[in-house]
């Protein structure tokens, strides 16, 4: 093959590569474009603050879903973040070479591979079936469990990065291991742990499947975590598949809100989180 034709072949390949890359980029723009285009027209104060209107009439809003999402996320974080951090500390500090450690690590990683609907099924069978009652508690259990591997991994990684010199200095001073771990290493790994927790929070904001048969949905303000609660995700699902123009429009509005929430957290973590970790 003469040099010229190898060059030509390369040019052809570059064209193919660009086309393939475009195939990945175009859908992203399409999605964001659709959401903004369809969602912006529904936005209003009423939309954000009121309850859904009676079925069939227009107007009303998604206020309860917004609050519901925040409530469920907060409770889930209350479960997932502490357990995640502690497990992450265990994996980073105590589980280096032991068999027990690698077993735990395998299980934590396997947990992250469990489909969200299966975790929802677990919460459903454990709580909803047992108590014969759809409840937000089951939803927070499911979402909390989903947060654990994410937070644990972020914690473990950012603690690993903290240099061994610090650890050895602590030990040489006679500080017991537990104190070394929490005081010194964790404070330096703070940035990574916070980033990981925020990212996990954003991640579960988008999870819908586990909620479908735990927290269900509701057309009223949340009354208690033990009751069904409306959430943005489930609202989007229910309204989008309903086929009613007003509801579909509202689903787009809710989608816009959800995407804004998730994207903002992710962007914030990536820009500020990096600087923080870099400094540490």
């Amino acid at each position: 093959m003469r040099l010229l034709s190898r060059r030509a072949k390369e040019k052809l390949i570059i064209a193919v590569l660009i086309a393939l890359s475009g195939a990945a980029v175009i859908p992203l723009f399409w999605i964001i474009g659709s959401i903004v285009w369809n969602g912006v027209s529904v936005m209003s104060i009423e939309f954000l603050t009121s309850l859904p209107a009676p079925f069939g009439s227009s107007g009303g809003g998604i206020g309860n879903a917004i609050i519901g999402t925040l409530i469920i996320n907060l409770f889930a974080s209350g479960l997932g973040i502490p357990l995640g951090i502690l497990t992450g500390i265990y994996l980073a500090e105590y589980a280096y070479d032991s068999k027990m450690g690698s077993a735990v690590r395998t299980i934590v990683e396997s947990l992250s591979g469990v489909p969200s609907i299966v975790i929802g099924l677990f919460a459903f069978t454990l709580i909803v079936l047992t108590f014969r009652h759809y409840t937000g508690v089951a939803a927070t259990l499911a979402l909390g469990i989903m947060m654990i591997p994410l937070v644990a991994k972020a914690t473990e990684e950012s603690m690993r990065v903290v240099s061994n010199d610090l650890r050895e200095a602590g030990m040489a001073l006679g500080i017991p291991k537990y104190n070394i771990t929490t005081r010194i290493v964790l404070s330096m790994a703070k940035g990574g742990v916070i980033s990981g927790s925020l990212l996990a929070f954003a991640r579960i904001s988008g999870e819908t499947a586990p909620l479908l048969f735990t927290a269900l949905f509701s057309f009223y303000w949340p009354t208690g975590i033990d009751q069904p609660i409306a959430t943005l995700q489930v609202l989007i699902y229910n309204y989008a598949i309903s086929g009613f123009a007003d509801w579909v429009a509202k689903a787009w509005g809710a989608s816009l809100l959800l995407v804004l929430l998730v994207m903002t957290i992710n962007v914030a973590v990536r820009t500020f989180g990096r600087k923080k970790c870099g400094g540490a």
Binding site: M1, R2, L3, R6, R7
Partner: protein
């Protein structure tokens, strides 16, 4: 003897840092020229300018001319330059996912040479010329990385030679090898010069004296001295050269 490769006021930068300053050397055809000098003085950068690999580094810049048989290589297609000017690296780098014979013809295959009979012939001929054939002929399908360090380096030389280049650049080819392999490769270099122009970087002045016809001394990116090897070592003209040869630095 004609000149094969000439550099005219060759300068090179890494970003803002200038590492070569107006180096002008004429390399004789079918001779071995050694480049010596303390580490970090631009020798590697220099030869990477000769096969247009320096410019691949981000922020790298080259000025001046490099003429191969009178033609400026910076006006040619870089791939064409690298076909004509081959390179052997300090750390032997055979392709681990290819067999010994595939390694030898890796470069030729790119040019489309496909017939098995021709390729086999090239493999045997090139491996013989580097003295490796008898050692590996019983199983040419072994991975290139399964050989010893010295054998790997001879494989890399074979791979470069299979392209039938006009010049071969060697960047400290024996510094990672044991003394026995080193002397085998030095012997190979002496044999090669009857067919091809060799430019070799070495930090070992003894090696330069043993192997080369001419020697050039680069210090802090500048050419300090360039002479017939015998004269270079017996009566160096610059005091810096003398200090380097006698081992007072570098």
């Amino acid at each position: 003897m004609a000149t094969k490769l000439v550099t005219e006021k060759l300068s090179a930068w890494f970003g803002k840092k200038q590492v070569l300053k107006d180096v002008s050397i004429a390399f004789e055809e079918k001779q071995v020229t050694a480049l010596v000098g303390p580490s970090g003085c631009g020798k590697s950068t220099f030869i990477r300018c000769l096969n247009r690999m320096h410019e691949l580094n981000p922020g790298a810049r080259v000025e001046g001319k490099v003429l191969l048989d009178g033609l400026d290589i910076y006006g040619m297609d870089p791939m064409d330059v690298r076909r004509k000017i081959g390179m052997v690296f300090q750390k032997p780098n055979p392709f681990p996912n290819m067999s010994i014979s595939d390694n030898v013809v890796a470069g030729i295959r790119l040019s489309g040479e496909k017939r098995k009979a021709d390729l086999d012939e090239i493999v045997e001929r090139t491996l013989r010329s580097v003295g490796l054939y008898d050692e590996v002929k019983d199983d040419l399908r072994r991975s290139g990385a399964s050989l010893s360090g010295g054998q790997q380096q001879r494989l890399c030389i074979a791979r470069a030679l299979a392209m039938e280049p006009e010049v071969i650049l060697m960047d400290e080819p024996t510094s990672a090898l044991d003394p026995a392999s080193t002397s085998r490769i030095e012997e190979l270099i002496r044999k090669l010069k009857s067919e091809i122009t060799v430019i070799i970087i070495t930090h070992n002045v003894g090696q330069a004296a043993r192997v080369s016809d001419k020697t050039a001394f680069l210090y802090l990116g500048e050419l300090i001295e360039y002479n017939e090897t015998k004269e270079f070592f017996e009566s160096p003209k610059s005091p810096i050269t003398e200090r380097y040869i006698t081992g007072r630095f570098g």
